[in-house]
Amino acid sequence: METKPDSIYRAFDRKASAIIEFTLRQYRTKTSTWVVLGVGFVALSLIFLIYIDVMGSEFESIDNDGDSTDYDNDGYPRGQELRLGTDPWDSESHPGLFDPPIEPDPVSMYINEDGFDWDITTQLGTQTTGMDDDGDCLDSNKTDSQKDSNNNGIPCDIIIEYFESDGKIYSNIYADSGVDEDPDEDAYSREAIHLAFVLSIGKLGFVLLLGIFLPLFLATGLIRDEMSSGTMHFMLAKPIARTEVFLYRTLGYLGIVWPYVIVLGILGALISGFVGPSDSFFRFADLGVWLAIIFATMMATLVYGMLFNALGVMWKYGIILAIPFAAWELGMALLSMGAPDAFLLRFSVIGWALMIVDSAAMLVWPNLDLFILMGNWGGGGVGSWNFDSSLDGAGPLGFFSSKPGLGLSAFSGTIVATLVLLFQAIIFWFVGGAIFKGKEIQ
C-alpha cells in the first residue's frame, strides 16, 4: 500500500552543490591533479614558444621573377632595362648611355614588387582578378597578344576557375605573364603560418590533446577510485541515486577542467593576438576563432569526461579501455583535416568538436580558401628555376584548415555540432549511470 511513489528526486541542487564542492576540494588535495594540469600547461607553453620564435624570425624575400638580377653586369637590373627597352643581356646596351643618362634603380625595387591583388570570393565558375603593379605586363613594348597570354580578351589579368568534380571543388589559375608574379614572401608566410598555428594548436593542442588528456587522467577515477578505496560507501549510504552521483562527480570534474581550458585559451588568444602579424597592436579578428577553440575543447572534455568516467565504473582498469578510444579519436582528428566530410567522422567526438573550430574559422576568415590558393600558386613560378613556386606556410595552412563537414554553413555547423556533442554526453551519462546502478560494491 504505497500511498505516494517513493522518491529521492528532491533537493537536487543541494546534493549537487555538495558533491561538486566535495569533488573540487578532493582534486585540490591530490598531487596527480597538479601534475596533469602542470604538464598540460608546459606542453602548450612549449608550442607557444616555438610560435613566438617563428613569428620573430624574418622570411627570406625571393625575387620570384628574376628581374632584380643584372645579367650583363652593366649595373642595371633586368627589370629596369626591360622597362626602358635596352637589352638585358648586352653590357653595351643600358639606360646609362641615354641622353641624359638614367641612374640605375636600387635592386630592392625589383624584389616583391608585384604582390597579390585578388579581389574575388571563392565560388564556382570563372572569375578574373589581379593587377600588374610593376608594369612588366602592361609594358608598351608588348603586343596585345603578349599582354593577354591567357586569351580571355582582358590584358594583364588572372583567371581563377573553380569547378566541381565528383563532389569535390577543384581550381585552375591562368595568369597573364607578369601579373602578381613577385609576391611579398614575408607578408604572406607570416600571415599563413600565424593562421596555421592558430588552427593547429587549437585543433591538436587544445581540442585533441587537452580534450583527451585531461579527462583520461582526471575523469577515469571519479567513481572508480572511490569504489576501490571503499569510500564510496559514505556517498551511497545517502538517499541519492547513483546516476546522480555519476553526474555530479562529472560536473565537479568540469569545475576544474573548464576554468583551466578557459584560462589557457585566453592565454593563447593573448599571445597570438600580440605576436601575430597585424596593422594595429592586437589582432582582434582571431578572437572569434579562439572562442570557438575554447568552446570546442570544453565540449570535448565534457563528452570524454562522461565516457571515461563510465569506463572507470565499468572496469577497474578503465584507463586501458580509454586508450583505444583515444587512439581512434587521434585518427579521426587527422582524418577530419584531410577529409572533413568522411562518413567515419560522424562516429567520433573529435570530428564534431573540430567542426566547431572549422565553422568559426570559416566565419572569421571568409577568404581562407583563396588565401591558401594564392599561396600555393605563389606567383606561378615565373622564374623557371623556381620549380615549386608555392609560398611558405600555404601547405600547413591548407592541411590544418578544412571546411565544416556536411556542407553546412558556419552558423548551422556550430549548432549541429554542439547539439550532437551534448547528445553524446547525455548518452554516455546514461550508459555510465546504468552500469554504475547495476554494479555491486564490496
Binding site: D6, A11, D13, A18, A237, K238, P239, I441
Partner: protein, 330 residues
Amino acid sequence: MIPDFDQQGKVETKEWVPEVAAPAVLLENVSKSYGRIFALSNITLALNGGVTGVLGMNGAGKSTLFNLLMGKLKVSQGSIKLFGTDPWKNPAPYARVGFVPEHEKMYDWMTGHGFVSTFARLNGLTRDEANIEADRVLEFVGLTDVAYKKIGQYSKGMRQRAKIAHALVNDPELIILDEPLQGCDPLARTTIMNVIRELGRMGRTVLVSSHILQEIERITEQIVILHQGRLLALGNLHSIRERLDKIPHRISIRAENPKQLAKDVIDIDEVFGISFPDGENISIQTHNLGAIHSQLPRIIVDNNHKVSTIDNPDDDLASILGYLTSGGSM
C-alpha cells in the same frame, strides 16, 4: 527549478513516504551467492526498535548482510525491505538510515566537521542546517574538541566516532554499524558503546556487528548469530546462555591454595569434576554455570581464600558456535 546556490531555502516537501506498518528491516529468505559459494543463505529476519548485535566470526556473512541492506549488493534470492522498500532498487529509505561502514579508508584531507556536514547535505540539508547538525552529532560522539582537525590526524577511535557522527547526522531511525569497536582504544570503546546504548534507549533500531561476544554483551542482549552464511540463533543473549549452562562448562580459578579451594568447592552439588591443570589453577566442571557463579563468591569469602582470577574459558563466541553447530539447534 532555480538552483538554490545560497542554500537558504526550505527543503521541498515531496518526500519519500515509508509504509506505515513495515518494520525497519525485513529480510525474507534472503540468499547471496557468488557462483556456487553462498555468502548468506536463506536468512529471514525482521527487526524494529532496540539494539541488535550481529555476531559471527570473520567471514560469517555480517558485512555481506549489511552491504545487502545498504543496497551495495543485490540479493540472489529472497527479498530485502527497509521500511517496506527494496534498497537495491530505490535508495530513498536511506533518508532514515545511518550507516557506519567497516572500511578504514576515510577522507583524511577533510576535517571532522567538514566530513560530517558535507555528507549531511546529501540528505538534502542546506549548508546552514548541515553545519548545525554536524555540531550536534559531533558533540554527541564527543568529538567537539577536534571537530576542525584533519581526519588524517585522528586516532583510530576518533575516526570511528567521526564515521558514527556522519551516520547520525540525519537523525536516522535505523543505524547500521559494521564492526564499530574494531581497533579502538578502551576510552573510545566505552564512548561508542554508550552512544549505541543511548540510541537504543531513544527507540532507534540499531544493528551492530562484532566478532567478540563480550563487546556485544556490554551493549545489548538481543543478538543474531551468523555462521557460515546461515542464521544460527536469534534472540535474547540470556536465553542462549541458559541453554549453554546445560552443557558441560569449565570455570578456571587461580588461587594461592588450590587444593584447599577444591575441597571447599566440591561440596557444591552442581560440580561434577575438578582438575588441576598446574600448581596454581583449578578447573571446575559443571552443567550449571549460573549456580556455580551464585555460590562461588560465598565459599571464597567464608573460607578466606586468596583468588586472583576467575575465568570462563568456554564463554566466548567460538565455544557458543561450537555448541550451536554441534547439534544443539535453537
